[in-house]
Amino acid sequence: MNGTVKVLEATGIRKHFGGVIALSNANLVCRSGRISGLLGANGSGKSTMSKIITGVYSADAGEIRYNGKPVKYKSPNEARQDGIAMVFQNLSLVADLNVWQNIVLGEEENKGLFLNNRTAMEHSREIVDQLLPGLDIRKMVHELNPGEMQIVEIAKAISENPKLLILDEPTAALEQAQVKSLFDTMRALVKKGVAIIFTSHRLWEAMEICDDVVVFRNGENVAGIDFTRDGKDPEKIIGHITGETQKSKVEKKGRTVSDEVVLRIQNLNYGRFLKSISFKLRKGEILGIGGLAGQGQHELMLALAGNYPGATCDAELNGKKIKLTRPAHAIRNSILLVPGDRQLEGLFLTHSLFTNIIFPKLGLKHQPLFTPRKKYREECQGVIDALSIVTHNMDMPVNSLSGGNQQKVIVGKWLSFDTNVLLLADPAKGVDVGAKRDLYDYIVGQVKKNKMSVILYASDNEELIQYCDRLMIMYEGQVVATLEGEDINDETIVTTSMRVR
């Protein structure tokens, strides 16, 4: 049904996190009975948009109208009361209850004094059969695979008969057949007048299921395409996603990559995250890892850093076989990781800069019992200077630093080591432009000077384009393409990342 009722209208939404602007001027209109797609590259703001609509975040500026009246939800619960349901990645499932119990969780009906399990089960079975026939609703959630869990999340959202359903990357964990069932269910819902917002990285999915798409880039929507009216032109859409602007000159002058292989990885496997990955890293090279978010890039970095005892691979460093099953193995071979989630993995927030920066030295062999205070403090000051870390002094706790400076501390921890291979897991994520430049200047300087080799994963394609000699694109745990030279540009990256079926 081509609804003319504007279920949702968002205008002029602004949102920033710390120094980073996620949305600068975002607009969106959703009508009943239509499926609107949100498209955009990593960090373009589309996910933030969904979260603002449902009350997970609050917008700095702008207005949201739901069925004509202005709303400002302070929590997903409030949005749910109004009939807005959202599905994120496994945020609301309880592992120790079974499928149907999860679906009705929070909305159970009573028969007299007790829970009415029979109607709950029937209700759940109905929904699940639409989405994933054959799934035993009595299975415990912790027994399900990620795809099934995603389906249960979706079922849960649908079971409340929402008027507006927001699906944020629902297909990321699903297999082909499950995606098809999901689409059928979505079409059925839409016939009943529900409005749906659908985001996905897979362009062909959006083109198949959506009635119109809105493309986000750099925090604002740059194009709105109505498929029924304008037809479907994938090239044009990709153009909107990547932008036609010329990127700044690529920095690769003055760096030569030798032919000598520093690190050779064969057949790296880790459960369902990494499948048969093999590559060679040359001395003085910056090897990039790209692709859509969540395709295993992060896991690859952690595996190379020795974080997964369960990962298997043949690894050779400078021709010598090495093991990578414990972080200590990697560290002692000077394969050093700058972790991605700085708060979770990288820093002791309440401790001083000094403690954080010199901490990795403690893991080396032959360290004296008493930390050589003077020597370490000099080295620490050296790091602060080299990276231009902004701070009063090195004894301040790191949680007093800005995000960008915290990131510098994480990189700085490893600077005084003689690094063979530096693993950078999104080092500049959420960091302002100035700090980003300082960081990369330093790293590239090290590569030139000491012939350090780098494996760089960045969620921002621009960084990959600027700095990488070669770029591996990952998809579902495998390396699906390796780009070199001229091929490292926005369009090719996006195409190889998104077009694979």
Partner: protein, 329 residues
């Protein structure tokens, strides 16, 4: 405009320093507060003799609290509930060994070390490697140690006395100043140095502050945590010697009454129960606070029951104040 000046205030160095030592200042103020109350309600509460006595008794609490601090610092909901009976069992055994003779002191010390290391190893292996909850493991260990004492003392009296050296350190004073307080004053900087300036101390704090970050930096978190329990028990064992020296004899419940105050002192001192930091000065202040509180309650005529109620309520209130984790909406 006003938000800008607010951030400027918060950025100022002075504010940051006060914030960091906030808990120490609160602990100190609480002590002063108690003394003031005491002075108003009870005569002769605030005399030099009383203060020194308080310090002496508080020293024992502070020493036990050090054990807790070590166990807690490593993270993983660390805690050592076996310190009380650890001290007791050492006191009981070494009393018989020394029987009032200085010459056997060094054997006693060796025995204490041996016992402490053994018990600590069991605690450490079970909690760090088998991942059993420290609460249950150390509580069960306390039970076992209590059982051993029961077996040992079945039907007979506990004999033995501490060597005179121990008595001098633990019970006696130099002039008016209790020796044990001297001991504490000497130990404190040593502790602080070890915790903050040695490899081991930093690794311990790192493991508690952020297990993943420490692991990724190459720290063997399990080993570090296991080691922290060994230290905790060994310290507790040595404190047993001091308890013996103070009391002159050993008896079954010597140490068990110190467990609760040792944890309370840690909380009052502002040390996070999740691990990762530990300011011993704060803990000492916490111990003094608790001892003062006890004295006050006793002086007011409240007796045993009042003491426990007072303790419980104060601890409960402080826990809510420091550890409340209300969801931010």
């Amino acid at each position: 405009m006003s938000t800008r000046s607010m951030t400027n205030l918060q950025d100022s160095v002075a504010y940051k320093i006060i914030d960091r030592y906030k808990k120490l200042i609160i602990a100190f103020l609480l002590i002063v507060f108690l003394f003031v109350i005491g002075e108003f309600t009870v005569e002769t509460f605030l005399t030099l003799g009383q203060v020194l006595l308080t310090l002496k008794l508080a020293s024992f609490i502070a020493l036990f609290a050090l054990c807790q601090m070590v166990a807690i610092a490593g993270g993983g909901t660390g805690l050592d509930l076996s310190v009380g009976y650890m001290a007791t069992i050492t006191a009981v055994f070494t009393a018989a060994i020394m029987d009032g003779r200085n010459s056997y002191l060094w054997i006693a010390v060796l025995v204490a070390l041996g016992l402490g290391i053994a018990v600590g190893l069991v605690n450490g292996l079970l909690t760090a490697y088998l991942k059993l909850p420290p609460l249950v493991v150390t509580l069960a260990m306390a039970n076992i140690l209590q059982g051993v004492i029961n077996v040992y003392t079945a039907g007979k009296n506990i004999t033995g006395r501490p060597s005179p050296v121990l008595r001098i350190i633990a019970a006696k004073s130099t002039g008016i100043f209790p020796n044990i307080v001297f001991l504490l004053i000497v130990i404190t900087p040593i502790v602080m140095i070890i915790m903050y300036k040695t490899k081991l101390g930093l690794k311990l704090f790192g493991s508690g502050a952020n297990e993943t970050a420490a692991y990724l930096s190459g720290v063997n978190v399990k080993m570090v945590r296991c080691f922290s329990y060994v230290i905790s028990s060994t310290l507790a064992s040595l404190i047993g010697l001091l308890l013996l020296g103070n009391m002159g004899i050993a008896f079954k419940d010597m140490g068990s009454n110190y467990v609760m105050p040792s944890i309370a002192a840690v909380v009052v001192g502002g040390v996070s129960l999740a691990g990762g930091d530990g300011n011993y000065i704060g803990v000492i202040l916490g111990a003094i606070f608790l001892q003062t509180l006890t004295n006050l309650l006793v002086a007011l005529g409240w007796g045993d029951d009042g003491k426990w109620i007072g303790f419980g309520i104060v601890l409960f209130a402080l826990l809510i104040l420091y550890l409340s984790n209300r969801r931010k909406r």
